[in-house]
Subunit: 406 residues, 2 copies
């Protein structure tokens, strides 16, 4: 526990003997998060097609807001006046905000990182105007106005938004960046990280809803030596936790390799977040490398297209992690999405056929029900992950989920 | 209690001394409905932007499916195979289906009845091809195919859908119809009603989810003598209940006058439904004339446009029954939609400013929250209506709602 973060604590509670997986608890001013945890994306202050109350009721433990979106609408001051993110949204529990860097730098560049991170969205990408030592200048996706974001203003915005966990601004590099560019961006990220710590201290680490804790980002693109340097940098600074960020390569396999390389280099006494990743196989791979939390729009995004999460690897899914309930083969399928699932849709006995019908005639209720299934699915998955770690059976349990850990 | 309807019963429990208002209970195989009741529209098998479970949890007592929509998708047989409407949708409680006539005849004609009834929807209107003694031929809004609906097939579809309360097919006339046309349509509706009773008996009054009860429609357009003839007709046939239908005029005042004229002519021992009407003032006017139930898409439809129901007549609403939360004046309004409301949005302390933000950035959660407020608002309104009747204070309570009863 650092003097900088008196209101936050991370405790490791169990370890899997055969992998680097561990369970833990992150304590925050708004409550406890059992790790490994999945963080639901509430980009603009709301989950896609579910209310915060529902997500809470079905076991979600932490949500994430995006500083980039919230700085543009409704503006951080409005969230501060409402008592901060957790109160403004009615969520009430632990929250995290990112720095805004990913949207501005990676999406602004038009890089393919968004593809791998599953962060494609209907939000038009911002246009990056320029990056200078002071900060970045970009064009708002909402009204085209010119806006600026610096390490200091990102933290000021995040203080106003008032999440429990806040993240430093990094210069996130696109996948197609050359090594020279990545090196320079990484050096700038180090300088920005130190400025972030200074700005955090100047504000006494307080946000609109109480004390905050600062997370440092470990980047380095696909280059192992740079990933090592980045890990050593964040280990040496007084962050509460770390996040593995920057471009994670061009394929899922490359992403898994980067995580497997960098996560073990990060200090074990701090929680490690993996930014923007959260498909089922990725979670098992990440957990096995010691990742403590994940965030991803995948569960709520696929719901919009009728995708309902199920245990992968069965014949039925064709190797995917979800069923596409819009498919005509579900028209007369009287089974629930998943036998034994206790989500509001499955527990009410609603059939795939009914959900198929709602999705086909564009009834929003279809989206609502699939979204809740997917949220509950992730909650159950993470509970199973934690139980597997506590039982020392991560490798076996992952295999039962169709995931072979290397 | 009729021998035709052994599983259904309507009991009047209290009367207001100064009006024709009454409270009652409708017992059905799927549960009890306290009247006066508001029936939520689940046109295609789902409420707009709320799940059945949510509507149930906040007190809704009965939902309505539209035979026209359900016969086209997913098809009545699919609903029958799933155990009927209440089970298929997860609603579980009492249900009603209309006959499909309103959509085919009134909307098919392009009449303005839809305007008064608040039934405008994003569903393209069907095209009426022809009306013959046997039944009607129309073009499906889904695929343009030619479809038929007769008194017998409407009841067969409704039997498969399996609601507790089913409605005869009537020839619903558009507002611009001349008297001669209305007279001929009314005579046909009488013949069709007798055919409906015969078809109901031939099927032994059983739907896919148990015994059903048949509701006869009293039409007559704006003509008092025809409204009287229609009332006498349904009074003389063995229906479980009655519905006031057909064109209800060109203005709200005309509609109130038609209801005030016809409702008192209907037998008092049967429940009276007012088809397609349900704005707040209309409910007070209808209740005072003895109407026992209402249905209307208004509460869920306005939610889609950011309209949150509030007690009307205040300065704030400008005489309307709702606040348009998309309006910029709510941008910094920290109050809940309504002080003292116990809906999931208001009870969670969510502000108009937050809902305004969600609606402006097109987050579905805004729609979900306003929809729930509106459903809960209608549940509370109807509870207040029933309490006013039981206390013999309908006129006074309506006045407190800004409604002057004649």
């Amino acid at each position: 526990m650092s003097a900088r973060y008196p209101a936050h604590r991370f405790t490791v509670t169990a370890r899997d003997p055969a992998t680097r997986a561990r369970t833990g608890v992150i304590e925050t001013p708004h409550g406890r998060i059992e790790t490994p945890a999945f963080i639901l994306c509430a980009t603009r202050g709301a989950l896609k097609a579910a209310t915060m109350q529902e997500a809470r009721a079905i076991g979600a433990s932490i949500v994430l807001g995006n500083t980039y979106h919230l700085m543009l609408a409704p503006g951080p001051e409005r969230i501060a006046r409402a008592g901060g993110f957790a109160r403004w949204t009615g969520w009430g529990g632990p929250t995290l905000t990112d720095s805004g860097g990913f949207q501005i730098f990676s999406m602004g560049h038009g890089g393919v990182a968004a593809e791998i991170k599953g962060n494609r969205s209907s939000t038009p990408a911002p246009t990056l105007v320029r990056i200078e030592e002071a900060g970045a200048t970009f064009r708002s996706y909402l009204d085209g106005s010119i806006r600026e974001l610096s390490p200091e203003t990102s933290l000021a915005f995040q203080a106003a938004i008032g999440a429990d966990l806040v993240v430093v601004l990094d210069e996130c590099t696109p996948f197609h960046a050359d090594r020279d560019y990545v090196e320079r961006a990484l050096a700038r990220t180090f300088r920005w990280s130190r400025r972030s710590l200074a700005a955090f201290d100047a504000a006494e680490g307080r946000g609109s809803a109480g004390p905050q804790a600062l997370i440092g980002i470990a980047g380095g693109h696909v280059h192992e030596d740079l990933r090592r340097v980045a890990a050593e940098f964040v280990n040496g600074e007084d962050f509460f936790g770390h996040a593995i960020g920057d471009s994670l390569g061009g394929t899922r396999a490359e992403m898994h390799a980067i995580v497997a390389f960098q996560a073990p280099l990060l200090r074990p006494d701090r929680p490690i977040h993996l930014l923007g990743i959260g498909q089922i196989a990725d979670i098992w791979h990440g957990v096995a490398q010691g990742i403590d939390s994940f965030d991803c729009v995948h569960p709520t995004r696929i719901a919009r297209h009728g995708g309902a999460l199920v245990r992968p690897g069965t014949e039925e899914t064709g190797g995917r992690d979800h069923l596409n309930l819009r498919n005509a083969r579900f028209r007369d399928d009287q089974r629930p999405i998943e036998e034994g699932c206790d989500c509001p849709a499955c527990a009410s006995g609603l059939s795939r056929a009914y959900l198929h019908h709602l999705l086909r005639v564009d009834e929003l209720a279809g989206l609502l029900l699939v979204t809740r299934h997917n949220i509950r699915f992730m909650v159950r998955l993470m509970a199973e992950v934690r139980a597997a770690i506590a039982a020392g059976r991560v490798r076996e349990t992952a295999a039962a989920w169709g995931v072979t850990l290397g």
